[in-house]
């Protein structure tokens, strides 16, 4: 199964700037394992030390929160989109707030 994982801006340093990564896997858990092989360090940002999803991270399979499905054991199929979304809108990456600075004069 080839799944597209969508990456939020704060994690893009781990994906060498890519906003999405294609990986293989039959469940959301396997997709994250494949993603970790491709982008080392990313799983620890999404999952805790027991391998479960961190409280303030949401994973959406297409448009559905996987917590409302079977969590990390949710089956995925070819062409699915798995989005990693922080549960709470936090602060911006500072650089971007300031890329707009020039406009302010």
């Amino acid at each position: 199964m080839s799944v597209t994982v969508k990456i939020p801006t704060p994690l893009r340093p781990l994906t060498r700037g890519r906003d999405s990564v294609q990986v293989a896997g039959a469940t959301a858990r396997q997709v994250l394992e494949s993603l970790e092989k491709e982008c080392a360090g990313i799983r620890a940002r999404v999952c805790d030390e027991r391998g479960e999803m961190r409280r303030f991270v949401n994973l959406f399979l297409n448009d559905e929160d996987i917590r409302h499905l079977q969590g990390l054991d949710t089956l995925v199929k070819d062409g699915d989109i798995l989005s990693i979304v922080p549960a709470i809108a936090g602060g911006a990456e500072a650089g971007s707030a300031n890329s707009l600075r020039g406009k302010q004069g």
Binding site: K6, I7, P8, T9, P10, L11, D19, R45, R54, R55, F56, V57, N58, S83, I84, V85, P86, A87, I88, A89, G90, G91, A92, E93, A94, G95, S96, A97, N98, S99, L100, R101, K103, Q104
Partner: protein
């Protein structure tokens, strides 16, 4: 209201809209938690959730709006436009409703449902941007809208507006000095726009340069509502932030912030995520610098996070 120095300037507004007087002038209270008394340190917090918009953001937003009216930048018929991850958005929506201006807010789609509902309740318009693109996308969209129709909008731009930090310099910090008798050793807060740390930090340093200004640094992902990490060398700081007032930076994870919220809740104080983060840093200092008198701000109320997983056991 930004009482102290600006009181006279704002008197006509207060007469027209007495509810403005509910902003600022928050109480300072001693946070009683197990383990703190043994350190001989005190942790004091300002109850910023008691502002009428439910957060500390009422202070800068009210001042930015009132000053814009006084200077003629905000005139009847213009729409107030800005981006926000929530609390400032609520303050804008509330101020617009009080003062009779339309408000348009650009928020990331993952801003909490409570915030979005409150913004809409005040009659403001919401524009939502892709949560994957973070707060960046909301900021960019607000600037795009403003640039496309400059005559239609007034954009306060809280990152670059000096009235943001001045509201804390004249209000929050002046209150802290009055309420502590000027006797404190540390001030703890984080950076959203840099307004609180800059305004409070400057005022406290003028009073006593020995007061240590401690900056709470959240992890970048999943992040803490309203706070920025500003950790990487390539990060450029918000325009109004005066980082020279910062003596020390202490990192905190979302889990630590959450633990702080739960500890406070079990002791009867129900506050939001950034308050939990500030508490956990204040506790670190209390234990390390025994006998410290630490002041922080509890920015908003725990109710604002029911739709997130903050309160799940």
């Amino acid at each position: 209201m930004p009482r102290v120095e600006s009181a006279d300037r704002y008197r006509p507004f207060l007469e027209k809209c007495p509810a403005l007087s509910l902003i600022g002038g928050t109480r300072l209270f001693r946070v009683e938690l197990p383990g703190i008394p043994e350190t001989r340190s005190e942790i004091l917090a300002k109850a910023e959730w008691t502002n009428p918009g439910g957060s500390i953001k009422d202070r800068p937003v009210s001042r930015m709006i009132l000053e814009a009216i006084l200077s003629g930048k905000l005139v009847p018929g213009r729409t107030i436009l800005d981006s926000s991850s929530g609390n400032a958005g609520i303050a804008y929506a509330m101020m617009g409703a009080m003062m009779g201006y339309a408000v348009k807010l650009v928020v990331p789609g993952n801003a909490s449902a409570e915030r979005k509902k409150r913004i809409l309740a005040h009659g403001a318009e919401l524009v939502q941007t892709d949560p994957l693109e973070g707060y960046d996308a909301a900021l960019r969209e607000a600037h795009r809208l403003s640039d496309s129709e400059p005559q239609r909008y007034f954009m306060p731009d809280q990152y670059a507006n000096e009235h943001n930090w001045r509201s804390h310099y004249e209000g929050t910090a002046a209150e802290i000095l009055e309420q502590t008798g000027g006797k404190l050793t540390h001030f703890v807060a984080g950076i959203g726009t840099g307004g609180t740390l800059t305004g409070v930090g400057r005022r406290l340093k003028e009073h006593d340069p020995a007061i240590r200004i401690v900056c709470v640094v959240p992890e970048s992902f999943p992040g803490i509502e309203g706070l920025k990490p500003l950790e990487r060398p390539e990060d450029i700081v918000p325009k109004i932030l005066d980082s020279s007032v910062i003596d020390e930076r202490i990192r905190v994870s979302v889990e630590q912030a959450s633990d702080g919220c739960h500890a406070l809740a079990r002791n009867g104080i129900f506050v939001g995520q950034s308050s939990g983060a500030y508490l956990s840093v204040a506790e670190v200092i209390a234990r390390r610098d025994r006998g410290a008198r630490i002041v922080t701000v509890f920015s908003d109320l725990g109710e604002r996070y029911f739709s997130t997983r903050l309160w799940e056991p």
